[in-house]
């Protein structure tokens, strides 16, 4: 057997062996390793927090985009009611674009959630192993001479080294994924901020402006009609019905 499985394990083990070979007293390796384990444990916990932050940011974006989609739906209905099919079409087209964005973000969200779970597991595993290592380390240091301890130390050390290599890899992968996601999330934030996605949090865009104009036009028509009615006296026939189709040039 010289296969993939074996080659990967050799790569991992060679790292542990190198560290052991360098040490004059293998018992020193135990203390040094324990410090490194604590560091890695900190790092993996930070990693969990980072991934979780990114995941929450995505959730917020999905929520914002969802609101945008709903708003556009409402605007489309409003535009259609006002006889502006062109505007309604525009609103629905944008809504479809946003829904595509939401679908993409949901895929990323699922990936990030997967990484988060892996990291949480890795963190728990490492925590348990570091605890075992600590107990073993004290026993080995107290009850054996350096020479006697060698074999047992090798066992404990290669075991924990492998775990550390694995956890280190899990952290790196999670960091890579998070970095990619943050770059994309940044782009989505910019889109939302620029109003290109019709930000329901207050940004305006041309569609909003057109619809506002439409609304204002209707209101102006109604007011003009009311004024005319006043001027012409109470007996004049009221022509204040919504003049929506003439409101365009306002």
């Amino acid at each position: 057997m010289s296969s993939i499985m074996q080659r990967i394990s050799l790569i991992f083990r060679s790292k542990a062996n190198t560290a052991l070979d360098k040490a004059e007293d293998p018992r020193q390796v135990l203390d040094y390793s324990y410090v490194k384990q604590q560091e890695l444990l900190q790092k993996v916990r930070r990693g969990v927090a980072d991934v979780s932050t990114s995941r929450k940011r995505l959730e917020l974006q999905i929520q914002q985009l969802d609101q945008s989609a709903q708003k556009l739906q409402g605007q489309a209905q409003q535009a259609l009611a006002a006889g502006r099919e062109d505007l309604a079409r525009e609103a629905l087209t944008r809504k479809a674009g946003i829904q595509q964005q939401i679908a993409d973000l949901q895929i990323q969200h699922a990936q990030l959630q997967g990484e988060e779970e892996k990291l949480i597991n890795a963190s728990q595993r490492l925590q348990a192993k570091v605890e075992s290592f600590r107990t073993k380390k004290e026993t080995l240091k107290a009850s054996y001479t350096a020479a006697e301890a060698q074999t047992k130390i090798n066992e404990a050390f290669t075991g924990i080294s492998e775990e550390m290599g694995d956890v280190g890899m899990a952290i790196e992968r999670a960091e890579d994924k998070t970095a990619q996601m943050q770059a994309r999330a940044g782009a989505v934030d910019e889109l939302i901020a620029s109003g290109a996605l019709n930000d329901p949090m207050g940004g305006t865009n041309d569609l909003d402006a057109e619809l506002a104009k439409l609304g204002a036009g209707t209101a102006v028509d109604a007011e003009l009609a009311a004024m005319k009615a006043q001027l012409e006296g109470p007996s004049a026939p009221a022509q204040i019905e919504g003049q929506t189709t003439q409101g365009d040039q306002a």
Partner: protein
């Protein structure tokens, strides 16, 4: 026999099942050599599934090194190549993977 799936943990697989896993491993290696992405993915999935089915998870507090290691489930062909050539995937790894376990 202890087998680790990277980023997943260790499994204790009965020695009697190792031959089956070896065969799957050979298929995997052939796919890597042949640059066959689909074959690689299928072979890796089979291999990982079998390890999970046949093996029982090693208790988290146990400090044992694995006899064999397998890449994580969503690894790409490219990443496996890097892993085998020792480029970068293992944080802080020093070069020269020549020592025999």
């Amino acid at each position: 026999m202890i087998i680790r799936i990277l980023t997943e943990g260790q499994f204790d697989v009965p020695d009697g099942n190792v031959e089956e896993l070896n065969q799957l491993d050979e298929t995997l290696e052939a796919a890597i050599r042949g640059d066959d992405e689909d074959g690689f993915r299928a072979a890796l999935e089979r291999l990982l599934d079998r390890v999970r089915e046949l093996g029982s998870p090693v208790p988290v507090e146990d400090l044992v090194s694995s006899d064999l290691l397998l890449p994580y489930a969503d690894v790409t062909l490219h990443e496996v190549r890097d892993l085998l050539s020792g480029d970068g995937l293992i944080p802080g790894r020093s070069s020269g993977a020549t020592s025999a376990g």
